[in-house]
Each structure stands twice: as C-alpha cells, then as structure tokens.
C-alpha cells in the first residue's frame, strides 16, 4: 500500500524531531507538509513524503500551537505571548500581535480570512494577517472569555472555544460581538481539547477523565437528543479503571470518523454516528500529544510526546510517527442487525 516501510510501532518515524515536547502538529490543506510546534521553542516544517525537515523557526519561548496559512506560510502561538507568521520559503517572520499571557491556540479561518488566537489571558483575539508587522493594524477584535482558553476549533463560520472551568463558547465569525451559544461542557472534568465535525453539525469535547462528548450546535430537542458521551482511553486493572486524559482528536476529512489520542499512548479511531470503535493502533512509546490527518485522509501524523500529566518525570523521547491509513481502519461501520435466534 505504501512505498515506505511501516515499522511495527506504527508508522514511519520522522527524522530530526523536536528535542522537547510536541504541543501540536498539522498537515497542510494542500500537500503533505507537516507543521510541528514544540516546547523546544521551535516551529518546524517537515516534508513527510521525503522525511526531511524543511524549515525551522526559533522562538523566544515554547511554541504552544501552530497552523498553516497556505502551503507557503503558517502561524505560531507562543508562550512568549506573541502570535507570528512565518513564510517557509524565505524564512521571513512577521509579527502579528501579542496577548497578555501565553497564547495557547491559533487557528486560521479561510472563510473569514482571519487568524484567531486564544490565550490564558482569558481572551480570544482575531487578526488580519495582511496587517502583520504594523502595530494595531492586524488586530481585528478582542473577545473576553469566562476563563483561560484551552482549545479552539473552526468549521465554516463557526468557532468553538473551550476554556478552563469547563466553559464552551460557540461563536459565529461573522458576528463576534457575542457568542452564539454559551455552554458548559457536559463532561465533568477539565476539557483537554475541542474539535468540530467536518460536516459542521457539532463538535467533540475531550476531557482529562478519559471521556469524549459528542455535541451538536442545533439546540432543538431533536438534535440535542442525539448527543452522547463515551468513555475511552481507560485501562482496567484489578477492578478499577485507570483513566487517561484524551489530549488530541482529529477528524478524517473524508469519512467523518475521528481518531483520539490519550495519555495511555494509544490512538483509537471511532465512528461517531454508529457509536463504535473502528480501530486501535498499537501503543506508542508515550502519551499522544497531537494527531492530524492529511488532506486526503491517507496519512495520520501522531505526536508521541509526554504531555506532563504527571509532572516532571523521566519519559520516552518525543517522536513523530506518520502512518499510512488503511480504509478498514477509518471507514464507518453501520450497525449490524442482530442475528435472529436459531
């Protein structure tokens, strides 16, 4: 199926990975370029097909998130409170703006043409990338959140913000003056990550308690009746469950099924509609910090990187694995009819 060899541990390991934890990784929407942000203060660009590091950008502090603008440039969110843009080819760096606290998330909305960042200063800021490098021209708006922003996700014109204290705000990018919906996470524990469904009908929330909730934007009873949550990334030992945070989620661009990665080192693939687990990949050396599907859904990048859930301890080296995806691992499986008794 693939030209490259697949190691038993689950995918090709990229060479020259970051030297410290990986905070996020993303595939480009146009090619198999992978952007990786890391606690070693670098933003790196890899060409997955050729397994080569193409560009590396040093920051003043750990880089907590990254995203592509187009294939030639991307944005970074750093713990040094800044938001920057990098042109990969030229290596040119543009300064977009700053927050009052580390910037935790960055997303680029193609629909609105804006960069959106969420920070621990409890604000969301929207930036116009064309106004880079000129002070205050880039900032489009600042929106106060109930708490520190932990995760963001976009689909179409909808933006979902997950903060500390389990708050969830849903915004319409065309009218950011106030949230379209103010909600509370239906999970009882701290939110780790939020991801919108590719079909734009809702979003998935994951918490530190090994649970994922499937939510919907439509507030009607019929739609809300469909929502549910399920337990995952747990290990059963002597009658007790050991529960792991679910750090990352990624939706398959074509099938709409999604992968979750947890601190147990496993990546599971789920069919949200049929409420089934489709596949579990073999255990990675350490916690899964981030996941990303390539634009055609044929590759899955897995960041196997300790996420500090147990503080400072010895851990496996941080690595990035890229798997070739088999259809059987991600294709939805409608419920089989029950076998009638003989």
């Amino acid at each position: 199926m693939s030209t490259a060899t697949t190691t038993p541990t689950g995918g090709r390991e990229l060479s020259q990975p970051p030297s410290d934890g990986i905070s996020n990784l993303r595939f480009s929407n146009h090619s198999d370029l992978l952007l990786v942000s890391s606690w070693d203060k670098t933003l790196r660009l890899y060409d997955v097909g050729e397994n080569v590091l193409k560009a590396e950008f040093l920051h003043a502090g750990p880089v907590l998130d990254c995203c592509f603008h187009d294939d030639s440039s991307g944005f970074s969110a750093s713990a040094d409170h800044t938001v920057r843009r990098y042109a990969f080819g030229s290596g040119k760096e543009d300064f977009l703006g700053r927050h009052d606290a580390p910037v935790r998330c960055v997303e680029y909305s193609y629909a609105a043409g804006q960069v959106i960042t969420g920070s621990w200063d409890k604000t969301l800021k929207c930036w116009d990338p064309r106004g880079a490098n000129s002070s205050d021209r880039a900032l489009v708006g600042t929106y106060l959140q109930p708490e520190r922003v932990y995760s963001l996700s976009l689909v179409g014109y909808r933006l979902v913000v997950a903060t500390a204290g389990r708050h969830v705000n849903v915004y319409d990018l065309r009218n950011m003056s106030q949230p379209e919906q103010r909600r509370e996470s239906s999970l009882k524990y701290q939110t780790r990550s939020v991801r919108c469904y590719p079909n734009g009908t809702g979003f998935a929330l994951s918490s530190i308690e090994g649970r994922v909730a499937m939510e919907f934007f439509d507030l009607s009873e019929a739609a809300q009746a469909k929502k549910y949550a399920f337990k995952c990334h747990r290990k059963s030992e002597a009658g007790r469950d050991i529960v792991y945070p679910v750090n990352a989620m990624a939706f398959h661009p074509i099938y709409g099924t999604f992968a979750t990665g947890g601190c147990d080192g496993y990546v599971n693939v789920w069919d949200g509609n049929n409420k089934k687990r489709l596949y579990q990949y073999s255990k990675y050396p350490t916690s899964i910090a981030a996941l990303s599907f390539s634009r055609d859904g044929l590759l899955l990048a897995v960041a196997s990187s300790y996420t500090y859930e147990e503080g400072e301890i010895l851990h496996e080296p941080d690595a990035i694995f890229v798997r070739n995806i088999n259809e059987v691992e991600v294709k939805p499986k409608p419920k089989a009819l029950p076998v009638p008794p003989p």
Binding site: G21, S23, W39, P62, L64, A79, P102, R104, W120, R148, Y150, A164, G165, R183, E184, S185, S186, L187, K188, Y189, Q190, R192, I208, E209, R211, A213, E215, Q224, K227, Y228, A229, F230, K231, C232, R234, S236, G239, R240, D241, I242, V243, Y244, P245, C263, K275, K276, R277, T307, Y308, E309, E310, G311, E312, P338, V339, P341, P342
Partner: protein, 679 residues
C-alpha cells in the same frame, strides 16, 4: 518244425504217393516224356514248395504279430501301471518264456484290459475332481487362476488323486467359510440397518445382487466380502456417531429437565432415549432407535426445551433486575448509568451473545452486594427517616402556627393540638438527631472508605446544608425578633407620643415564613415584609415589650419619620431587607457550597426553579427585588450529564490520573510554570 506224427507222414506219403502213382499212370497213359515228366514233377515240387513257403511265411508272420501284440500289450500295461502309480503287473523276462506266445497273449490281454478299465475309472475320478475344483474355484476366486480341465494323464496315481481330493476339500471348506462369513456379515448388516432405520435390501443389493436373492447362490468372492465388511464398518461408524449424538442430546435433555423441573409425564415420553444414555455401541439394538427421523425428533425436543429455558432465564433475569432495583430504591442507593443495563442485558440474552446464567450470576452478585450494603446502612437510614419525618412535622407545625384559627374548637381540634405538641417536642429533638446522624455517618464512612449516599446525594452534604439552612433561619429569626423588638419600641414610643397604634405584626399580608426544606440546598428568603417569627407567642411578647428606650426611637426617628404607618413600615422593611441581605447572604453566587467534584442534588433543582418563578411575581408587585442567592445552589447543567456509555469498557472505580484542584490548571500551564521556574 512241428512234430508230424509218423502216421501222418505215412498218410501223407501215402497220399502223395498215390497221387504220384496216379500221376504215373496218367502219364503213362498219356505218354508223357520223361523230361516232360520230370518237368512236371519239378513243377509239382516247386509248387509244393511254394505252398509250403507261403504257409511258413504266414505262420511266421503270425508269430511275429503275436509277439508284437504281446510286446505292445506289455508296453501299454507298463505305461498304465506307471501312470497309475502301480508297480508293473507283468514283469516280462524277454528270454524266459512262461508259455507259448498265445498263452502269453492270453494272459496279458485280460490284465491289459483290466488295467485299461482301471485307468479309465481313475481318469473319470480325476475328471470329476477337477471339475469340482474348477467350479468351486470359480466361485471362490473368480479372477484368479482357474485350473484347466486338462488332466495330466501321465500322473494318474492315487497319490495325485488324493492330492486333488484334498485340494477339493480345502476349496470346499473355504467356500463354506466364506459363505458363513457372508451370512454373518449379512446378519450384522441387517441388525445395523434395522437400528439405523436404513433399508437392508437396497444396501445389500448394492453390494452384490446375488446377496439379496434368496434363491441364487451368493457371491462369495473376495470383493464381495470386502464390500460387505466396508459397508458394515461404515454403518457401524454411523451408528456410533448417531449414538453419541443421541446420548449428547439425551444428557442435554436431562440437564434441561433438571433445570426446569419438568414434570414426570413429559419425561416419560422420552424414556427410550434417556435409558440408552450410557449404553455402549453393542447394546443398542432396537430397530429405528438411531434412525434419522428419530434423531431429528429428539433434536427438536431439545431445541424446544432450550428455548423454553432461554425464555425462563429472561423472565428470571427481569425478575431479579426488578428485585435489585427495588432493593436499591429501598436502600436509597443510586447507581449511575443503570438505565441501559436492563435493555443491554435482555437484547444480549436474546441474541444469544451472553449466557443468561452469567447475567443472572452478575445480578445475583449485585443483589447480594446491595443487600449487604443496605444492611450496613439500615441503622443510618432509619435515623434519616426519623429525621425526615421530624422535619415534616416541623413544617406542618409552622403551617399550623400560621393558622389563625388553630385554637378554634372544631372537630378534631384536640387531635391537632396533640399533634402540635408532639411536633414541638420532635422539632426540639431535631438538632440532636442530626448530630447523632452525622456522627454515625462519619463513622460508617470511615469504616467503609466511601461516602454515604442517599438517592445519589452525599448524605453528609445534605445534612451539612440542612444545618447551615437551619442556622441561617435561626439567625433570621433572631434578626426578626430583634427587629420586632425595635419596632415594638418604636410603636411604644409613638404610642407614648401619639397614642396607640396598630401593632405592626398584624397586617403583614405578605409575611412568608421561610420554609424549611430538607435534602436540598435551596433557601427561600423572606421578602415583602418582616418575616414574623415561628411562633405567635414572641409576637405578642414583642408588642407587650413596646416600651423601649427613647434612644432607639431617636435613631429611628432620625431617618425622617414623622408619620407612623405604611411609609415607616416600608422604610423599615427596606432596612430589614438590606440588613437581612447583609446578614443573610454569606455566599456569593457560584461559590462552592457544592464542591466541584460532587453531584448537586437533582431532585431539589426543579423545586428551586419553580419556587424562584413563584417568588419573582410577588416581588415585582411589591417593588422589591431582593437578590436571590438561591441561584447559588443551582449549578444548572442544562446540557445533560454524561449519558449512558456506548460500546466501551465497563466501569470500575475511577482513579483519575490528574486531580482537579481548587484552581484548575492545564498540563501546559503547569509545564510552563515548571520551565519558567528554572528547569
């Protein structure tokens, strides 16, 4: 030369002489010459010689012939004798002559004849034997070498004959053996066919047609025997197979009967099956006990029994489930995500995915657990019941106290009076009750290591809240009392100044006594007026105590009061409200009465909502809008709490890897703090 007797010779000579004499006479007569006479005499002699010679030759030849014949005969005799294996009868010494040839011949001829006869007989015997041998050989081993009819005439000895006889015998024996074997096989086959319900005739005909035919002599060839043996083997295998199957079915049947206490009559129907349950292969000989039809009949019955079992199991499971739920309900134990268990269990049993007995065991286990737990909780639960009833009585008592007509003598008035008294006593006991309860619960929790929940709420929490509410109420009452006192003083002073005024305690239409509610953390404030105290007596006492110090009046008076009446009341109500609010609002909204990790009491929430709504309206009417700290207790999760799990791991006890602290931090925040702190 034979001995011619002298007489004969003389005779001959005489005859010849006479003839000669005659001849001489004749010649004399004739006058034949001497030469002529001599010639004729010579001729005559010659002719005579000729005749002699001929005769002699003839005799010679005859003699030779005889000799030849004798020789031949002897040869033949010898040959026959040798062929027949007998010593030569006639030992001929060529030189010695026993007698003359004719005698010899005569002696030989009968011997020869005899021998010939005997040879012929012997030959016949041989032929017979060989014919028989041939016949049997054909029967016994048709494809093998069949001895030819040809008899070797050179060996007709007895020995050979006996050999042949022996051969024949053995062949016959073989034939008989085979026949016997075949008959045995046939009978076995018959037996097997009868047991298995297979048609004997067809089977047999298939092997060899002659076997079926009663008339024809049966084929006894090796092939036939082999085929018979194979057929028997095959049928025997089938028999064993079916027998095992039947025995399995029988044992299953017995199990099921045992499990379901099937009545004897039903069991009798299958007696013939179960009686053979331990039989060995040879013991089963009844016809059709192993036929296909019979087997499927038994199979059907087993199936029916199993289905019966499944449905009974289902019933049992449901029954047990309801039992479990009942027990839980009684023990006020709430289990999360229990709703889907019944459906999952039932559908799983139906689809055969889960053995009902496993589920049953599970439920039994759960029941045992619940019982055990309920038992340990019994004491505390009883106390809780008592406490709850006490609170109800307290509430009733409050209502009663507010009833203006309570002292009216009516029907049953004495009963209510009695009840009120009891209620008062009970109410006084409540704090004591609560304390003992708390002590007991703490002890229980310490012993067990888990929180004591009552219908899903942590009981200690409930009690704690209740206590707080009570305390607040107490404080409120105290406040009211103080306030009343002040009012009383004011009135008294006013009375002193202006004459008597109506007691402020009467027309408080809006007085609402804060209801005590149990089990929940909701509080309803008094509003729209000074809340009067619980009992009527203090009120009266207050009005009685209307003589207060003038100082206080001055203070109040400085608030710009000249007129008694409504405005005064209003303002003082405002004061009351504000003061009340100061005192009575210890909590900010969203502060943790309910700590983050615990679950707020579900049942009380709808109460909050409805009471809030109710209260809002009257508030507005009186133009007073106190803030309702009742929202403090509501941690409203409109979004449903995590519903039933799907397709995943079973729930044990949780141990969360990262704990939730008072101020929560994400892993990244902690990591950054660590880095910044000097990693």
């Amino acid at each position: 030369m034979a001995h011619i007797s002298t007489d004969q010779l003389l005779q001959l000579e005489t005859t010849c002489g006479s003839f000669l004499y005659e001849l001489q006479i004749i010649w004399d007569e004739v006058g034949e010459t001497d030469t002529e006479r001599d010639k004729m005499l010579l001729e005559l002699e010659q002719e005579c010689l000729e005749v002699y010679r001929r005769k002699v030759d003839q005799a010679n030849r005859y003699r030779a012939q005889l000799r030849q014949t004798i020789a031949d005969s002897e040869a033949e005799l010898a040959a026959i004798c040798s062929a027949m294996g007998e010593p030569p009868v006639h030992t001929k010494q060529p030189i010695q002559r026993v007698g003359n040839l004719k005698e010899e011949l005569n002696s030989i001829a009968p011997q020869l004849e005899e021998m010939r006869k005997r040879k012929g007989e012997r030959l016949k015997q041989f032929l017979e034997v060989m014919e028989q041998i041939r016949n049997i050989s054909v029967e016994v081993m048709p494809t093998e070498y069949i001895p030819s009819r040809h008899v070797d005439e050179s060996d007709l000895s007895i020995r050979k004959l006996e050999e042949l006889y022996r051969q024949l015998e053995s062949l016959q024996k073989e034939k008989n053996d085979r026949l016997k074997q075949i008959m045995d096989h046939l009978s076995t086959l018959n037996e097997l066919c009868s047991v298995l319900g297979v048609a004997f005739k067809e089977t047999v005909r298939e092997i060899h047609p002659t076997l079926d035919d009663a008339e024809a002599s049966k084929s006894i060839s090796n092939v036939t025997i082999e085929r018979l043996a194979t057929a028997i083997g095959r049928l025997r295998e089938i028999k064993i197979e079916r027998m095992q199957k039947l025995q399995d079915l029988a044992s299953t049947m017995l199990e099921l009967w045992n499990l379901m206490d099937t009545p004897i009559e039903e069991q009798q129907l299958f007696q013939n099956v179960t009686c053979n349950i331990a039989a060995s292969e040879e013991e089963i000989t009844e016809s059709n006990t192993l036929s296909v039809d019979f087997l499927s009949y038994v199979e059907e019955e087993v199936l029916r029994l199993e289905q019966l079992k499944v449905s009974k199991m289902k019933e049992l499971v449901l029954k047990k489930k309801t039992e479990l739920e009942e027990l839980r309900r009684q023990g006020h134990l709430v289990v999360e995500e229990a709703e889907n268990e019944p459906e999952i269990a039932i559908s799983a049993i139906e689809s055969g995915a889960i053995d009902a007995s496993l589920v049953l065991n599970q439920i039994e286990g759960q029941i045992a657990e619940v019982k055990e737990e309920a038992f340990s909780r019994k004491d505390i639960l009883e106390r809780v019941e008592k406490w709850l009833t006490a609170c109800e009585e307290e509430a009733w008592l409050e209502e009663y106290n507010r009833d203006e007509n309570r002292y009216n003598a009516g029907r049953g008035a004495h009963l209510t009076l009695k009840r009120a008294e009891k209620a008062r006593a009970l109410t006084n006991k409540i704090p004591g009750m609560v304390d003992t309860l708390v002590a007991k619960i703490t002890q229980w929790e310490k012993e067990r290591g888990i929180g004591f929940t009552y219908d899903g709420v942590r009981l200690l929490t409930m009690l704690g809240e209740y206590t707080i509410v009570r305390q607040e109420k107490e404080q409120e009452r105290k406040r009211q009392r103080d306030q009343k006192k002040l009012q009383g003083q004011l009135i008294a002073e006013q009375e002193a100044l202006y004459g008597s005024k109506p007691s402020p305690s009467k027309p408080q239409s809006a007085k609402k006594v804060p209801r005590t509610s149990t089990g929940g953390s909701n509080r309803r404030l008094s509003f729209g007026g000074a809340a009067t105290l619980q009992t009527p007596k203090p009120d009266y006492m207050h009005s009685a105590k209307s003589t207060r110090t003038a100082k206080k009046l001055d203070d109040l008076g400085s608030r710009g009061l000249d007129i008694a009446g409504l405005p005064v009341k209003k303002l003082s109500y405002n004061d009351a409200i504000t003061k009340h609010q100061e005192v009575g609002m210890p909590r900010k909204p969203f502060a943790s009465i309910v700590p983050v990790n615990t679950i707020p009491s579900a049942p009380s929430m709808p109460v909050i909502a409805s009471t809030l709504e109710e209260n809002q309206a009257p508030n507005k009417m009186l133009l007073l809008t106190p803030k309702n700290p009742a929202t403090a207790a509501a941690v409203p999760m409109r979004v449903a709490s995590t519903p039933a799990p799907t397709c995943l791991v079973n729930d044990g006890k949780l141990s969360v890897v990262a704990s939730v602290e008072e101020t929560e931090y994400s892993f990244e925040e902690r990591r950054l703090a660590f880095y910044v702190g000097g990693r």
